[in-house]
């Protein structure tokens, strides 16, 4: 195992930020912590990168204990915190050299590892980090986190606030890093990014809801989900909630995701019910379960 957490808890005053969390990340795995703001993702990262000591529990990263061997861990992991950790008033190349130097290495020594990423920002190497666009900052921060060739890479919400084009590029970079044998623990509030991980932990209010591959988590969803649509969205939601057989009703983009309590649910009956309420252009179609559906079902 590359990362192991056993019954880790951490409180801030009365707030239980992380509540008895255990999971493992295998060597070379791309593992996602998926959850909203305040779920405890950053606290987990800070514990695993030895910046915070847990109240209870044990954790091991790259065979080092997070409390006893904290100095070794710091030499063997890369950490990209949620807010960019770059020095805004140093240039691109100065930032990179700075991080290489404090880890006792040189940019040349590990250039191969960051080449694919760094090459995209190299034309701007004389520019100050503070003047870079969001996507470029992200690439520089990743290069800096990799320059000492870490065994494990921690990325705390690397794609938050980044537009879809940069997000896609970032995930492509992670896949390539994974192929070079680096274990990656990444957190995100975007449920659609879960599918890009080997395994994920769904997390909310400091607790793990489930840990598995994205495919298996979706398979575990107990119900058949239907996409429901009608001419008036607001009324549709109200009437679906009024329908006594509903198990769950959630707006989902242009549709409402509906599940029924009964195993022998007959959509025609529901169409009839909605028509009697005066709705028009009603459609009900089976749809595929998403990670977000599963998350909501587990968090109920």
């Amino acid at each position: 195992m590359s990362i192991t957490l056993k019954h880790i808890s951490k409180s801030y005053g009365n707030l239980k930020a992380v509540d008895d969390i255990s999971f493992d990340v295998k060597e070379g795995e791309l593992f996602g912590l998926i959850g909203p703001d305040g779920a405890g993702k950053t606290t987990i990262f800070r514990i695993l990168t030895t910046l915070l000591i847990p109240d209870i529990g044990e954790a091991v990263v790259a065979n080092y204990d997070i409390v006893n061997d904290y100095k070794d861990i710091r030499n063997h992991v890369g950490y990209m915190p949620g807010r960019f950790s770059l020095y805004q008033d140093l240039t691109v190349e100065e930032n990179l050299e700075f991080f290489a130097t404090i880890f006792g290495t040189t940019v040349e020594e590990n250039y191969e590892l960051i080449k694919d990423i760094y090459i995209q920002i190299e034309p701007f190497k004389k520019r100050r980090a503070g003047k870079l666009s969001g996507g470029m900052k992200q690439k520089l921060a990743l290069s800096c986190a990799l320059i000492h060739k870490p065994k494990v890479l921690f990325l705390d919400e690397p794609t938050t606030g980044v537009d879809p084009v940069s997000r896609k590029e970032f995930w492509e970079m992670l896949k390539r890093l994974q192929q070079k044998g680096i274990t990656i623990l990444v957190s995100t509030p975007y449920m659609d990014e879960a599918a890009l991980c080997d395994r994920i932990a769904l997390i909310q209010d400091g607790k793990i809801l489930e840990v598995d591959t994205p495919e298996k988590i979706i398979q575990h969803f107990p119900k058949k989900i239907y996409d429901v649509n009608a001419d008036k969205m607001y009324e549709l939601i109200l009437y679906l909630k009024e329908y006594k057989h509903n198990h769950s009703v959630y707006p989902f983009g242009e549709f409402v995701h509906y599940t029924d309590k009964r195993d022998n649910f007959n959509p025609t009956e529901l169409v009839q019910f909605l028509e009697n309420k005066g709705l028009k252009n009603i459609t009900i179609q089976p749809t595929e379960t998403t990670i977000e559906d599963t998350f909501m079902e587990l968090a109920r």
């Binding site: 969001g134 896609k168 242009e254």
Partner: protein, 242 residues
């Protein structure tokens, strides 16, 4: 009934020196519509919105918001719109009650109106037990719902929402969208600025800005058909990558 436009922009342009941040955008938003205003970082969304809410004067072009001209009547625009952003919406070191009273006062509501609105709002949002708590102590989801309601205190014709649901848990997010649907159903226009493409899926119509121009404008369904894409995220990727 004839559908009225509450926002009308024609050739709206803003230049900063030689740089054209917003390049002759033309669009209309109807009463009671949920309109998504999308674009990548730096595409010009924020500049365009600042012109629409009356805090930035356009370089050229025309726009009317809630029936008022953006050049000559921005004070009236401000009185007739609400604004909520994820970054700033409420005062963290005031209580729930104090925030409502403060914003009600700013919007020019009378003491009685504020009291009435406050009771109604506290009841609707289930905030009775925390009315005297500091806003900083509330969970993010509650804060957001409260901020949204506060932005609606003065019954504006249009509410501008800046990335309203980023980072919120999925269930709270749905509750928030239900509030948005209700608001639109009651006739208030909802103008959502975002680069979260899944927020775009909830809108009646969306526009997508690329390099200062509106490159696409239609319902999410039609945009997906037109670009042969499975999601708004794919539509965006196709547009941005050419």
């Amino acid at each position: 009934m004839k559908q009225t436009n509450v926002i009308k922009a024609e050739g709206l342009t803003k230049m900063f020196g030689d740089f054209t941040a917003v390049n002759a955008i033309t669009f209309e938003v109807k009463k009671g519509e949920i309109f998504g205003f999308l674009g990548a970082n730096g595409a010009g969304k924020t500049t365009a919105m600042k012109m629409l809410i009356g805090i930035l004067t356009p370089t050229s072009g025309d726009a009317q918001v809630a029936g008022f001209d953006v050049y000559t009547n921005h004070d009236n625009i401000k009185k007739n719109i609400g604004y909520m952003s994820q970054k700033f919406a409420l005062y963290d070191d005031l209580t729930v009650k104090e925030n409502i009273t403060f914003f009600g006062g700013i919007y020019g509501l009378t003491r009685e109106q504020i009291k009435e609105k406050r009771c109604q709002l506290v009841e609707e949002l289930g905030l009775k037990d925390v009315v005297n708590e500091l806003v900083s102590s509330l969970p993010l989801g509650w804060k957001q719902k409260l901020a949204f309601s506060v932005a609606l205190l003065h019954e504006p014709k249009i509410i501008f929402l800046d990335e309203p649901t980023g980072g919120v848990d999925p269930i709270t997010r749905r509750q928030f969208w239900e509030m948005i649907y209700k608001t639109a159903h009651n006739g208030t226009t909802v103008f959502v600025t975002t680069h979260y493409m899944d927020e775009a899926e909830y809108c009646d119509r969306v526009s997508i800005m690329v390099d200062g121009k509106i490159e696409a404008l239609d319902s999410p369904k039609k945009l997906k058909e037109h670009f042969n894409a499975a999601s708004m995220n794919d539509v965006f990727l196709k547009l941005a990558r050419g």
